[in-house]
Subunit: 494 residues, 4 copies
Amino acid sequence: MQDAAAKPLTNGTEYIESLRGRNLKVWYLGERVTEPVDHPVIRPSVNAVARTYDLANEDPHLATVWSSLTHQRVNRFLHITETVTDVVDQNRMQRKLGQLTGTCFQRCVGMDALNSLFSVTFDIDEAHQTAYHQRFRRFVTRMQELNYVIGGAMTDPKGDRAKGPSAQADPDLFVHVVKRTEEGVVLRGAKMHQTGCLNSHWIVFMPTMRLTPADRDYAVVAAVPADHPGLTYIYGRQSCDTRALEGGEIDQGNAKFSGQEAMIVLDDVFVPNECLFMDGETEFAAALVERFTAYHRRSYVCKTGVGDVLIGAAALIADYNGVSNVSHVRDKLVEMTHLNETIYGAGIAASHESKPTSAHNYQPDDLLANVCKHNVTRFPYEMARLAQDLAGGLVATLPSEKDFENEETGPLLRKYLKGREGVSAEDRARALRLIENMTLGRNAVGYLTESMHGAGSPQAQRIQIARQMNLEEKKELAKNLAGISTYDGVTERK
Amino acid sequence: MQDAAAKPLTNGTEYIESLRGRNLKVWYLGERVTEPVDHPVIRPSVNAVARTYDLANEDPHLATVWSSLTHQRVNRFLHITETVTDVVDQNRMQRKLGQLTGTCFQRCVGMDALNSLFSVTFDIDEAHQTAYHQRFRRFVTRMQELNYVIGGAMTDPKGDRAKGPSAQADPDLFVHVVKRTEEGVVLRGAKMHQTGCLNSHWIVFMPTMRLTPADRDYAVVAAVPADHPGLTYIYGRQSCDTRALEGGEIDQGNAKFSGQEAMIVLDDVFVPNECLFMDGETEFAAALVERFTAYHRRSYVCKTGVGDVLIGAAALIADYNGVSNVSHVRDKLVEMTHLNETIYGAGIAASHESKPTSAHNYQPDDLLANVCKHNVTRFPYEMARLAQDLAGGLVATLPSEKDFENEETGPLLRKYLKGREGVSAEDRARALRLIENMTLGRNAVGYLTESMHGAGSPQAQRIQIARQMNLEEKKELAKNLAGISTYDGVTERK
Amino acid sequence: MQDAAAKPLTNGTEYIESLRGRNLKVWYLGERVTEPVDHPVIRPSVNAVARTYDLANEDPHLATVWSSLTHQRVNRFLHITETVTDVVDQNRMQRKLGQLTGTCFQRCVGMDALNSLFSVTFDIDEAHQTAYHQRFRRFVTRMQELNYVIGGAMTDPKGDRAKGPSAQADPDLFVHVVKRTEEGVVLRGAKMHQTGCLNSHWIVFMPTMRLTPADRDYAVVAAVPADHPGLTYIYGRQSCDTRALEGGEIDQGNAKFSGQEAMIVLDDVFVPNECLFMDGETEFAAALVERFTAYHRRSYVCKTGVGDVLIGAAALIADYNGVSNVSHVRDKLVEMTHLNETIYGAGIAASHESKPTSAHNYQPDDLLANVCKHNVTRFPYEMARLAQDLAGGLVATLPSEKDFENEETGPLLRKYLKGREGVSAEDRARALRLIENMTLGRNAVGYLTESMHGAGSPQAQRIQIARQMNLEEKKELAKNLAGISTYDGVTERK
Amino acid sequence: MQDAAAKPLTNGTEYIESLRGRNLKVWYLGERVTEPVDHPVIRPSVNAVARTYDLANEDPHLATVWSSLTHQRVNRFLHITETVTDVVDQNRMQRKLGQLTGTCFQRCVGMDALNSLFSVTFDIDEAHQTAYHQRFRRFVTRMQELNYVIGGAMTDPKGDRAKGPSAQADPDLFVHVVKRTEEGVVLRGAKMHQTGCLNSHWIVFMPTMRLTPADRDYAVVAAVPADHPGLTYIYGRQSCDTRALEGGEIDQGNAKFSGQEAMIVLDDVFVPNECLFMDGETEFAAALVERFTAYHRRSYVCKTGVGDVLIGAAALIADYNGVSNVSHVRDKLVEMTHLNETIYGAGIAASHESKPTSAHNYQPDDLLANVCKHNVTRFPYEMARLAQDLAGGLVATLPSEKDFENEETGPLLRKYLKGREGVSAEDRARALRLIENMTLGRNAVGYLTESMHGAGSPQAQRIQIARQMNLEEKKELAKNLAGISTYDGVTERK
């Protein structure tokens, strides 16, 4: 938190400026990126985060909230929830931003990490008389004051999945402490597919799974400034990413916004004590993961906002094709809506059912949060299928925008690709490119693949649902109605 | 409300007694039923309602609530919601009762009718300077004092579905006013598949659909005592209903509880003015139906309680078969749980998102309520399929309990139908019969067919979802991201 | 084959007569059934088998075939397939009989057992110089001459599923040889849910699973006359079975036809050598099970015939309700048809892809047969759901036919339950009762639960699909396109 | 058929050479493509067609067949089916080529067009005493001799979908005759998303829908050489198409093969009479479309070959991730296989059930062909979802191959992205890129979107299924079992 002189960021433009000149070590397509903010492939992801700043000004009720840490309104993404409504309002804001960007706006991981660490640091201190919680409050307070973007880094490369961190052939396959001094610790390792990491000011590193006592060096939570010289970022390719380099706008589908995921390599990063929020308390790793995922899995309500865009795009192309009143078309839009709202229902239910933690922030319902995310691993794929159905085959065979501009082919395309009366071929192309973007292109990564794996792959939710399905209690309900009594573990007749 | 001397009912036993000696005209299997309470086929449905009374004593926090109408705690089924929590707590109580009875406990229709009429009568009075609302409050107050069961009767026979009420060849195919006097009105017609009607003390008749001015005589809401001599009840058959007449218990699957649906014929029933809550205000019929269905569709959260029993039964038989740790078995239980909680999520989300009406009670979110019910028309069928999968073929080929009792066949069955070590053949039979009961037998009517059609068939929800899917707004979201601008209804390039 | 004087059965009536007076030990509802043929609950299952005889006369091209064993046309159910067309024509006949009976007609198990034993006995003889195959040909020849019904008995009680036959605490939990003499063997044990066993003349007992050398006494295949005094039959209950005892017809839904499943107990049944087709050759048990299930799983094409009835019933009630042209109604009928034909496609594909065995009969494609059956464990449930959707709630709340006959309630029902112009309330009731019968009642057992578990539960198909999915070959396809080469088990770069 | 001196093409290399120097007017990304064969984006689609030539040499039994037109073995894609086996063998060849290319190999449209035109020209001649059929036989004979690639062009732009061809504001929105002379006709219009058109030697233009007498000029079938100067091709963009321009191989996923779709504009193309196979016989347009789609919809069995690759890729990455024995992983591979084989089953069933036409070639079963294709619009999407599930998130966040080559990032990637012991990071990357290619990238266009819309969008199949579902017959089946008799259109009691 060296930035004592830093000034709070008050809008998207200031935010974007704040990212410049940080000299991050970023690699993309085999080359060092000198200024990510100005890189055409990266910029749309910056814009998506900037949108969270602007929304805070446009709709402060939705995107800011009074914080008892700073005694002022802060961006909701930095807020420690103080009421159930705070938790629910995160979902409302997420849906709105999904609608405005049509992609991942990248700030949820940090929000969810802050809220889960808030209670976990409290619990560690209770158990171990450590001082993580106060430290952490200071960190959060400072971030709120500066209105910074926090990234949360959890997923390690994991190597051989049959082995835990300390049992790997290469100890670096999970982030771990390689050295401890009076002043702090040194970290090494890597984190995979890190959402919005380049667009963050600080990144909080956390363990990715339940740990055993042998994994002590892996039980570390640390905040690191994103521009720490020990961090290397290798940018992930996205489907159709290089369309942003082609100079046009239409073929990108959504030229303004995209998500961002990169791999981060930590090459002996020193973390001072004041930025250390867990160090060796292995028994709390599982609690941290569970609380974080409970938060983060219902954060996938954001995809219902993205889904709203897809429904809108599907309705738009149906309209442009002149078939918006055909019954099967309408029925498919209803089905998309039904699926989208089913996700939303489970998500906000998880938030509405939040319970206070010992640290007095609020924690969403774990079972419903997992149910929400599990539906997210299914329904967007079905919605994408329905959108492609409504789009017609042209969504995958449309010539490029340069062919529209070309003076030989342009007139032919305008003649033959016109939609219904009053709809230009170009607008039709734009609608189709947006659907392509969301079902095959850049934002299909965010809308589909990230929906599958972000916040844990489907099987992770099934394991968590299994843990909470209370079969014994349900078996008792059944026995009660079936007239079966049990005594001393042996089933007997009443 | 003639029962001035009546005493409040304080438990299930008193409730059951209160139903005796009413001389209802009930027909079943071609015969007049002299005392429904004591009829073996009908009694399980009475028990299910009685359970709502006993729960109020066992768990008053869940099943009773302080009412500002009577200034005392009343049964939650009779309560006019005063907070959002009141609406959500209905869902919690419904799930609990589903768990305890494994079937339909029949009191929700009345609860939902009271809450929707509360605001609709208020709105009619505002528009027409009528006095329905105060009248209605008196009615509700009295019901709360007596702790009565209220049935809600909505579905008319409907005849030719292409025609409205007043256009039918037979005017009686929708309940309507055939005569008006100073003191009140006379009603004629019928209501189909009325849940728990015999087990009610009073029945509120309501129109079933949007009405036009021509349908004036059909725009009537009236409370009628269930023992009115003008009412005839023809009891609906349920799958396996007569197993209750066979003298045993096991083959019924759930011998204690069942649902109840009957047809009610109104043969010139006089309704005094004090029991009339709408009379001719056709333009409010649609509002009443919409508010009632918003309430009632999220009431289908009850099926998640029933689903808990089915999950428990499936887990139990898997356990008895010795396969509870097999991965595909466990995975199917997870899937059942996931589907069940998805329903629950949408249902309680609808309740949590309730908004106050002009009459100051709370109305659930319409879209989410429809989404909840629409999932109810799908997921229980899939859960039933999975339960049959886990049960094994014996669920449909098991010999009768009398064959277990028979001295020649009993020993053979006990020898060959034993489950894993420590599980008797009879307990295994009981678990299987419960699954049969819920997927093919009496309570399959409640768990499956009623889930399909109760509170409106699937298409009714799709229509309602279509009304609320806001395509225009979503199209704007898509246009914004695709870079399409619109001017004066014509789409143009920016 | 003691019945040297027996005369061939030439039609359904003669078949029914042939079942009389056999003094079978049959138990149902705790009582000994003196003459199953005349028992109202059992008779519909007899009628279903009789239909197979009558079809042979009505459509000899479909239901009979020239046999090179007897050098005459024989009933197709007794035929050893001699061409691919023979295998496909079984499916055509099965679909037709499903259409005519709306239920299980019970003769397929025997047909499939004969065809799989034909090649397995040949292979055993090749390996062991035994004489089973000639013996078996004599048996089949005699059955063809007499035109008898053959039952096939495979499923044992199985006890503790973690243990094989010879490791069970009770050795009788799988059928086994308890004594061997010069003349033959003595069998003991039981077989579960045996389709059509009472309606058979002979029953072929077969092992149910892969066996180890330790299971020698369990590796036995034997033909036993159904009226052997050592056999006891305990009849399985079906949902709504006792409606057949009520005296009416409508409430049964399908009064004429039903399936049949019973448990068979073998109490020291002596089998002469001439009826023994495997005895101790444990290594052939797996082959027998696999060939039988390949045959039998594609035999489930019969359910598409039953599905045709359900589609017809759904279309009929939609018509009676006056909504047959509503788009969502029509679309649901299309979906039902699509699902039904998907099953049919996989089934006849398995048959069309039959290959000759070493014994020169034809064996269906195993993978496609499993795929066919696996779809049968899913789609009929979805079709039943759609049928209930189209039926409306009345399918589960309709009063009894006795209420239609009653002079007080009959007129009310006829007035209020009329469908569209020209459709009587009674015909509407009949259509609804048929849907109830197929989705909740007696034939739901055959259409749904038997579809789930008959010929092996879903997981059995998944195991068989897994065995044949050739992942290694498919991985090579992927490596070829991805540019990955492998050398000596280690993956290397080209 | 000017190419009298042309020599037959005997392998893929010769085929590729035959495409050179044709001076096609091809546009892509706004530029004229001078030699499509050498264009890096187009070449993979050429390779896919070339694979069909090489397969004919590698496996002549599969990919060639004796033709009674030329009295020699010809490529199966050019063969007029003479037996049922011929039809089925098309499917086997299609699956094989799907396996070998992992994409669309483009020759099926021509094959299916030839086979449907063979019988339609015959029928027109029968009705009109025209001479199309002999003419058409000569055309096919010549194509077989030369071993040429035939494209089939059906889909017009269609404009306002509520209006037929002759009612459009712009008459060119459907291809039509603009001038007739003694020697032939002149065509104008366009055809959309034409599979493999650039890679064809000749293209057969056909009407796209049922026509009315007013549409006479639109009822035209004509063969045109692909290098006709009146044809302009505008190449469709595919997701990730420009990765082929980047110089590497890995990031393309499948660098060797892709599909091809382009828009063709006909600018007054003269067609001599000998190449005209319909001209004005509007009443045969529907028959042509139906026969073509029956053929072409079951041709989508090719996607099961592509599906085999995807299953293999999913199994491969699971293996590389070290989780191939985890039960849920294995179960997902089984599910993918089950879905894939379900498609295959319906497809080959349609082929096996082919019937001879009046022209003596064979026509597949229409209902099953539609069922096959309708499953293709669903199951590949679910398979893609499952493949992404098994791939893990890295499938969408993997850095580029240039980052692997870079000396700073390469070692980091190799360290952190290693799979299980013995698997290199690069091979893991290749497997992931193949899955990306098939679910998001170039071949997702062929595997998903083309599966949705090729050979008709889903609703087209539903309409065709509806036409053939024989509801009246099925209603009679239901009435028979329900005991309902009908007399003179009025339903009566027996």
